[in-house]
């Protein structure tokens, strides 16, 4: 842990806070994934981790490595941008897949408004 001792206090406190915030949000998201009852509710839970959970940890990593290497270390930002763009795609596809399957099976938990395919028999 020798490299951690060179970090000054004014940097250690924000990095620590960001780490705790990010990992805490991610953990809460997965607790929601376990605890929530319906699939559509569970669809919201992981976005806690991929949104600000990921952003906080990446920010902490940028701050720490920028200090340790003595130059701006921004390559973590590539991960952040990538996750920011790809998460909506996966969530949308999963939501559509679940909707498609539930409609096919006439799942009872699907309300009337979501039952028919959009634009098929709308007035």
């Amino acid at each position: 842990m020798s490299h951690l001792e060179t970090v000054p206090l004014w940097l250690a406190i924000p990095v620590g806070l960001l780490l705790v915030l990010g990992s805490g949000l991610t953990l809460l998201g997965t607790i929601g994934l376990v605890q929530l009852k319906s699939f559509y509710d569970r669809l919201h839970a992981p976005t806690l981790g991929t949104g600000w959970g990921m952003a906080a940890i990446v920010l902490a990593s940028i701050l720490l490595f920028s200090w340790l290497e003595g130059r701006p270390s921004l390559h973590e930002a590539v991960i952040a941008v990538f996750v920011m763009i790809t998460t909506p795609v996966t969530m949308m596809m999963l939501g559509r897949a679940a909707l498609h399957r539930d409609r096919k099976e006439n799942a009872p938990e699907l309300p009337e408004i979501a039952r028919r395919t959009l634009g098929e028999d709308t007035p």
Binding site: V7, A12, T26, T30, L33, F39, F82, T86, T87
Partner: protein, 93 residues
Amino acid sequence: MSAAILFAALSFAQISLALAAGCACYRIIRGPRAQDRVIGVDTLYVTAMLLFLVTGMRTNSSFFFEAAMVIGVLGFVATVAMAKFLLRGEVIE
């Protein structure tokens, strides 16, 4: 002092991310339906990626960063393929 703060924060982050991965595994195993398992896999990928980033900060090595990036890309492709399969019954049309 600052080393102690960072040490505590990194340990907290590693433990809670490991617990988060455990929660995602619970959802993969319990289901009940295929889409629940897929969302569990997606969450597991993201959590593992964050865990690699935090471990990289702890050990001061950039090896973990590259591994995290590979995990991120693989997770995206895997989830999209699985969701597509659930939607249509085949991956490539």
